[in-house]
């Protein structure tokens, strides 16, 4: 009797997570892998694993999902044996999944798309991960450092250096 109830609660929780955090998870994965097709597969895998994993941190679902996503992206990058970069062609290959236009498709149509792609491209893998985790997950730097398995100061350094590198493209260009 308890097992069906537990399963139902997991399904409903997963559905709620999908509605609340799918865009953030996909944005994070997309920012790292740069391919919509790969990102979609990884995102599905994220939620699949989340459905079967034991979630105990109430109120931090997004951080939980992003941890899974980060691990999957790292595994993917390791298998692919290449740097996680974003180039213009990969951004343009985005295909919408639903009837509504994909936000990335709108981005492609705008000038900001090139700027974002260029901005992410100049960042190192670690810098990109820190900034995207901070943005999409709103995670504390201690959490980010734990997720990335690096010291706190290292994570802070990645963030700082990444923001300074972005300044040249994003801020000084506007000026």
């Amino acid at each position: 009797m308890s097992q069906p109830n537990e399963q139902n609660s997991r399904v409903s929780r997963l559905s709620q997570w999908a509605c609340d955090h799918h865009a953030a998870v996909r944005g994070y994965v997309m920012g790292l892998v740069g391919s919509a097709e790969i990102a979609d597969d990884l995102v599905q895998e994220v939620f699949r694993r989340a459905a079967s994993a034991r979630y105990r941190e109430e109120g931090k679902a997004r951080a939980f999902l992003l941890r899974i996503a980060d691990r999957l992206v790292c595994d993917w990058a390791r298998r692919a044996n290449r740097e996680i970069t974003v180039d213009d062609d990969q951004w343009r290959q985005v295909e919408p999944e639903s009837q509504e236009p994909d936000p990335r498709v709108e981005l492609i149509q705008h000038e900001g798309q090139q700027r974002l792609a260029a901005a992410l491209e100049i960042l190192s893998d670690s810098q990109r991960r820190v900034l995207l985790l901070r943005y999409y997950g709103d995670m504390e730097f201690a959490e980010i450092a734990q997720l990335m398995n690096c010291p706190l100061n290292t994570a802070l350094s990645h963030c700082r250096r990444g923001l300074l590198a972005l300044r040249k493209i994003l801020v000084e260009t506007d000026e």
């Binding site: 997963l14 559905s15 999908a18 509605c19 799918h22 865009a23 953030a24 944005g27 920012g31 979609d40 597969d41 995102v43 599905q44 939620f47 699949r48 999944e97 639903s98 509504e100 236009p101 936000p103 990335r104 709108e106 981005l107 705008h110 900001g112 798309q113 700027r115 974002l116 901005a119 900034l131 901070r134 943005y135 999409y136 709103d138 504390e140 730097f141 706190l152 100061n153 802070l156 963030c159 700082r160 923001l163 300074l164 972005l166 300044r167 994003l170 801020v171 506007d174």
Partner: protein, 191 residues
């Protein structure tokens, strides 16, 4: 009093804060620079994430099937059938247009043993190979009958590969026997 180690963390937490920073919170020059970069990046990411769908299609979060494991057996059977056909055709061509003439009768050797399944029995006939000193490679008439039978077997076998595994094997063996015997005869003739 904050330790030195907390200052960089505090600085970056302010710079990358999602919420607006109150005016009464002082920011140094570097923090302002970092904050400006963060806001610019956030704006671009916001544009990319603008308009998330409220109706998440179930298929988006459903587990995608992996690469479907297609059954490759039809391809395997086709490959086997094609190779057998090629082999049979080659044997037939060799028998039909090959060079050597037999010195002895192959009929007895070609006849299958009674206990072997052979839906396409080869007509075994005793015949003498006519040797002609002028025509060294003349064919025996009985050979023509047997070859014609093999041809017919090949055609029938080609109609349904799946159902004729064993006949195919038997035909292949027969053709191999033909080839062996023809080779023997050719060697004998050359000697």
């Amino acid at each position: 009093m904050k330790s030195h180690d907390e200052d960089p963390q505090r600085q970056l937490e302010l710079a990358t804060s999602v919420d607006p920073i109150p005016d009464d919170v002082p920011l140094d020059e570097e923090t302002r620079v970092l904050r400006a970069s963060w806001l610019a990046l956030s704006q671009l990411l916001d544009q990319a994430d603008a308009g998330p769908s409220d109706d998440i299609d179930e298929t988006v979060v459903s587990v995608r099937d992996g690469t479907k494991s297609r059954s490759r057996w039809p391809l395997v059977w086709v490959a086997i059938a094609a190779s057998l056909l090629l082999m049979v055709s080659s044997g037939w061509l060799l028998v039909r247009f090959g060079s050597p003439v037999r010195q002895s009768s192959p009929a007895d050797d070609m006849a299958e043993s009674p206990d072997r399944l052979d839906p396409f029995p080869v007509v075994a006939s005793q015949s003498k190979v006519e040797t002609n000193e002028d025509e060294e490679f003349s064919w025996d008439d009985s050979w023509d009958d047997q070859i014609a039978q093999v041809e017919e077997n090949v055609i029938l076998a080609g109609q349904d590969w799946y159902a004729l595994d064993q006949p195919y094997d038997s035909m292949s063996r027969q053709i191999e026997q033909f080839e062996g015997e023809l080779d023997d005869d050719f060697q004998d003739a050359s000697l």
